[in-house]
Symmetry: C2
Subunit: 346 residues, 2 copies
């Protein structure tokens, strides 16, 4: 039996408590300053997370952030960070303030960090900023939190430079319904987790861009399949440029997570709006007002890495027609347009 | 301007006439003995294919098979075979009877041929059987015929051992909406085209196997994404065993075509039935009575290549849990069951 502390009581942090508790570990779920209402709701007898369907089991204790003590973290075998990307600064501060014993930390939180012309993943930037983190573990793969919390079959991938730590943590968390691959390509997993949000915008735009009234879902299929394939290929190239292994993009962290992200969630809703000829400002200021669309943050970080449209017509590995079209729409505020007449999927 | 003969007036053969005619080539569309009603309908003034939305342009002439003459084939720059797999024997016979001049032949028709423990693609078996075929061209990628006929963005891949022939044929056929990649991996394209039907059965079974009443389409997403990823990985391994390049499975011919095949068509309908706990005999004898389900033919050919479930728990490249589950259901007539509790996607 292990002790696990989960920082962040959003849907993903909370969902990860389910397999952990199923394996009889003692789990402490810690709300962030923004999770006050969630923590209050969950601490009631039989309390349920407002966005999930069922209560957690008795071996999960939910507390607010100001009840978190240094010894909670010192006693933990694993710390899981489940905040969304804007919360990463808060988490870094909390860990540096309260960690007195070196511990492995696993991150659900994803993002790309750009400094000048260098783009990095959290796997590259966080270890030096959190000195007491003994190992950085990246969690990737196609996982809708509510489905994991409902014990539906879910496959994910855990990445750590030290494969034995990834293996131990996977053995700690795996259940019959939560199946885990492991890899040392932590940079690749982190890169793909951020990239898939970005590419989901473009693939989703192709879903609504070519309506077909003879189909139940109203969408043509050939344009989406072409874009999904192209997204996988470009994701592999960008993954490699960011320091990861291109093969990671063809597994759970890449095309697997892209598959689940297209057709659901905020990145996809932005894409669906762009595909019908609306501008990014229009969609972000109405349907998605006040919401974090992580693919937009990824777009900002990628801007320097992907050549502008006019220069994106070379051969692989320099060919990024879909990424260019997404950047044109999201950053340069043009209407979304994948120039299909010049596309060669490769 | 080229001359193109298309053998088979099904939806795919007919749809390929659209970009060919758009490029001002002279196209002769030849019905098979089973296409009598189609040919009659299309030869009326303004006649439309019964399963498509619009009439073909004037530079396409539709004729019945008994009007096909030797000089039609001798004059053609390219012959395209668009029959379904049961028609391949008929086509081979027609070509051998009427071809007197060596010509390149492009095949939409796909299938695996098993002889003893050897499994081959048409790219390997047909060249020696059709002596007047100067080059075998394989056509792959995600292409729903009706969408191509409606000039919707469609990306496909043309494969020929002689890359210059693939390039010339692609230049002949490409339009603004029909974009073509080329490759020399003809065996890989042919293998993937057959394999994607097979794997679409399993991925589609995972779509209906875990209902979610809170979603518009009623389907959970994590199980499908896990299965789609696993299908891509197993397709790459089988592609390699069949003599192709595993990278082909991660492009248009592989995961691209799988993407379009899951959720539509007969293979997917079989999978949807299996996913709800029905037997293969039940689904094939009711919903799909009298129809050709090409993934079932692929399953028969693969039976000797994939180890039985009990021995499918090794490491890659010998790990085929999804293929085993599909074979168990389709060939061994068990209820479909992907043993998720032992799955490691890799």
């Amino acid at each position: 039996m292990a002790k696990i502390v989960v920082l962040g009581a959003g849907v993903m942090g909370t969902a990860l408590c389910v397999p952990a508790a199923e394996n009889n570990h003692a789990v402490l779920l810690v709300g962030t300053p923004l999770d006050g209402d969630i923590v209050t709701a969950m601490r009631l007898p039989g309390g349920v997370h407002p966005k999930l369907d069922d209560a957690l089991s008795d071996n999960v204790e939910t507390i607010p952030f100001d009840a978190l003590r240094s010894d909670h973290l010192g006693d933990a075998d694993y710390i899981i960070v489940g905040v969304s990307s804007p919360g990463i600064v808060w988490v870094t501060d909390v860990l540096n303030r309260l960690m007195t014993v070196a511990r492995p930390v696993a991150f659900v939180t994803k993002g790309l960090v750009s400094a000048g012309s260098t783009v990095s993943t959290y796997a590259q930037t966080l270890p030096s900023r959190i000195p007491m983190m003994s190992a950085f573990i990246g969690i990737g793969g196609p996982c809708i939190a509510r489905e994991l919390a409902n014990r539906l079959p879910t496959a994910s991938i855990y990445a750590c430079e030290d494969i034995s730590i990834a293996e131990q943590f996977a053995a700690t968390m795996a259940t019959d319904y939560y199946r885990l691959s492991i890899t040392t390509d932590v940079t690749g997993v982190e890169a793909c987790a951020a990239l898939k949000n970005f590419f989901a915008i473009g693939v989703s735009a192709m879903q609504t861009g070519y309506p077909d009234q003879k189909r139940a879902d109203g969408q043509s299929k050939n344009p989406t399949a072409a874009a999904f394939t192209q997204a996988s290929l470009e994701m592999a190239r960008l993954c490699e440029r960011l320091g990861g292994d291109s093969a990671t993009a063809f597994g759970l962290a890449g095309l697997g997570d892209l598959h689940v992200t297209v057709g659901g969630g905020r990145n996809s809703r932005l894409g669906h709006g762009l595909g019908t000829g609306r501008s990014v400002l229009d969609v972000l200021s109405s349907d998605l007002f006040g919401e974090t669309v992580e693919g937009v943050d990824t777009a900002r970080a990628l801007e320097t890495m992907v050549p502008e449209k006019s220069s994106s017509e070379g051969e692989a590995p320099h060919y990024f027609p879909l990424a260019s079209a997404i950047l044109d729409a999201v950053i340069r505020q043009k209407l979304f347009s994948l120039d299909f007449s010049r596309l060669v999927v490769r």
